[in-house]
């Protein structure tokens, strides 16, 4: 039985501390946004969760390519872990966004490109999990999972562009602003710092969870092999 690596324990504590700091900064350090008020504070974790979701799906696609090239089971575990984490954070992203949109856009939901893309992304990776569930042979499951992770990830930007050819009302806080986006605001330095810390904290959460999930996947593999051995 592998002992839990020391580095992982260290990463756990760093992650918890960072997340606590980010939470405190969101509530006490970042100034209140003049127009939107308290609800704007959801922005820091909303964007950070979206970032982790995308990161998860990107890692899954890369792990898919690596698996197809090498045939190493480890990459399959990485891919599955990244998809699971990505789905959870993409969902957090959607839910926090809805909470913000209710007072600002006066609706929980609208078919804005980003919202549409986020939903379709969740559906793609739900299909990914269903696909894996339908295959017993672990080798084939890994291959099909890898192929679908690649195909799915490539379609995401195209979905976004196609949905963006419709007009958008989602504010673009980072990068160019388009006039007319409801709920738009400029970040003050304090806000920017809070935002950066949130991003960093969530990135650590991602790395930490990914490591744990990969470890879990490996252990599950081992259990499976031991079971087969005892049956023999």
């Amino acid at each position: 039985m592998d002992a839990k690596p020391k580095l992982l324990t260290a990463l756990d504590s760093i992650t918890v501390i960072l997340l606590a700091i980010a939470t405190l900064m969101v509530f006490f350090y970042a100034p209140m946004e003049a127009v939107m008020g308290q609800v704007q504070r959801v922005f820091y974790f909303h964007v950070a969760a979206g970032w982790v979701g995308m990161l998860g799906f990107l890692v899954a696609a890369i792990a898919g390519i690596a698996y197809l090239r090498s045939g190493n089971r480890r990459w399959d575990i990485v891919g599955l872990s990244a998809v699971e984490i990505g789905m959870v954070f993409a969902l957090i992203n959607i839910v926090t966004g809805s909470i913000w949109a209710r007072p600002i856009w006066n609706t929980w939901w609208t078919w804005d490109p980003r919202l549409t893309t986020a939903t379709i992304m969740e559906l793609i990776y739900a299909a990914y999990l269903l696909l894996r569930q339908g295959i017993e042979d672990p080798d084939r499951r890994a291959r099909f999972g890898a192929v679908y992770a690649i195909v799915g990830f490539l379609s995401v930007p195209l979905t976004f562009f196609s949905a963006r050819l419709f007009r958008t009302i989602h504010p673009v806080v980072i990068g160019t602003n388009q006039p007319g986006a409801t709920g738009d605001f400029d970040m003050t330095p304090l806000m920017l710092q809070t935002f950066m810390v949130s991003l960093l904290a969530f990135s650590f959460v991602f790395a930490d969870l990914l490591w744990h999930r990969i470890r879990l996947g490996r252990l599950a593999d081992r259990v499976e092999q031991l079971k087969l051995k005892t049956v023999e």
Partner: protein, 242 residues
């Protein structure tokens, strides 16, 4: 002629021969599908009846009167194509799997991508046949003229995108426990860009909107087709590998 040019000439000849060989293998797969379909006619008939049923349901679900039709014809058409196409893709791969044809195909000493492109081309032909029947039927039923060269182009581009991804995913879906249930779940979220672009571009042509407004959608369709043809070409080997 110097020796170097002679060697190069030789290499070009063999490359050309290889290409001819490849195309022959590809065409053999297409011909096999067409010949089987000519004899049984089960795929095209079921796709066609299904397509007409979808239009019938839309007719009552959306009350397709003249005013509504003006804005949603392209949407109705593309949903019909997508549903009928999914049915066809499932069937075309299930036949391969059930009768052990796929194993036979894989044993053939040809590049696997020739099998993929052969199946894709076959599926594309079936889909285009269905579309070629549905369009005039829709025109007659609703007394509108859908014969528009732009629309035909959009249908071709959209069908290519649909079939390219669909054939790849269908060959995965038939190898799973849930089989045909899984294909639409895998396929639909991935072909959303094709659907959006195809519906918008078709609508543009039907409404006679100027070309500048339609071109971005056409570009999107072309980009999608190119990207996913390349991806499917690269990953198909892993999907049929045993």
């Amino acid at each position: 002629m110097s020796e170097a040019t002679a060697v190069r000439e030789d290499a070009r000849l063999t490359a050309l021969e290889k290409l001819r060989e490849y195309l022959r293998a590809l065409w053999a797969v297409v011909w096999k599908d067409l010949a089987a379909e000519l004899r049984s006619r089960e795929l095209l008939t079921s796709m066609l009846v299904f397509a007409l049923l979808v239009i019938l349901i839309f007719n009552f679900a959306l009350e397709l009167d003249a005013r509504t039709r003006a804005t949603i014809t392209s949407g109705v058409l593309w949903v019909t194509f997508a549903f009928a196409g999914t049915l066809g893709l499932n069937r075309s791969m299930a036949i391969e799997k059930d009768r052990g044809c796929l194993d036979g195909l894989l044993l053939a000493p040809v590049d696997r991508s020739a099998i993929y492109f052969g199946k894709t081309l076959g599926n594309l032909i079936f889909m285009l046949i269905i579309e070629a029947i549905v369009l005039p039927v829709y025109s007659v039923l609703y007394n509108t003229n859908l014969f528009n060269p732009g629309l035909v182009g959009v249908i071709l581009l959209g069908s290519i995108g649909f079939v390219v991804v669909g054939t790849l995913l269908a060959s995965m879906a038939v190898q799973t426990r849930t089989r045909d249930v899984l294909l639409p779940i895998l396929l639909f979220p991935v072909i959303i860009p094709v659907m959006i672009a195809a519906v918008k571009a078709s609508n543009g042509f039907l409404q006679g909107i100027e070309m500048d407004a339609i071109r971005p959608w056409l570009n999107l369709l072309i980009v999608y087709d190119v990207i996913f043809t390349a991806v499917a070409f690269m990953v198909f080997d892993y999907v049929v590998e045993e």
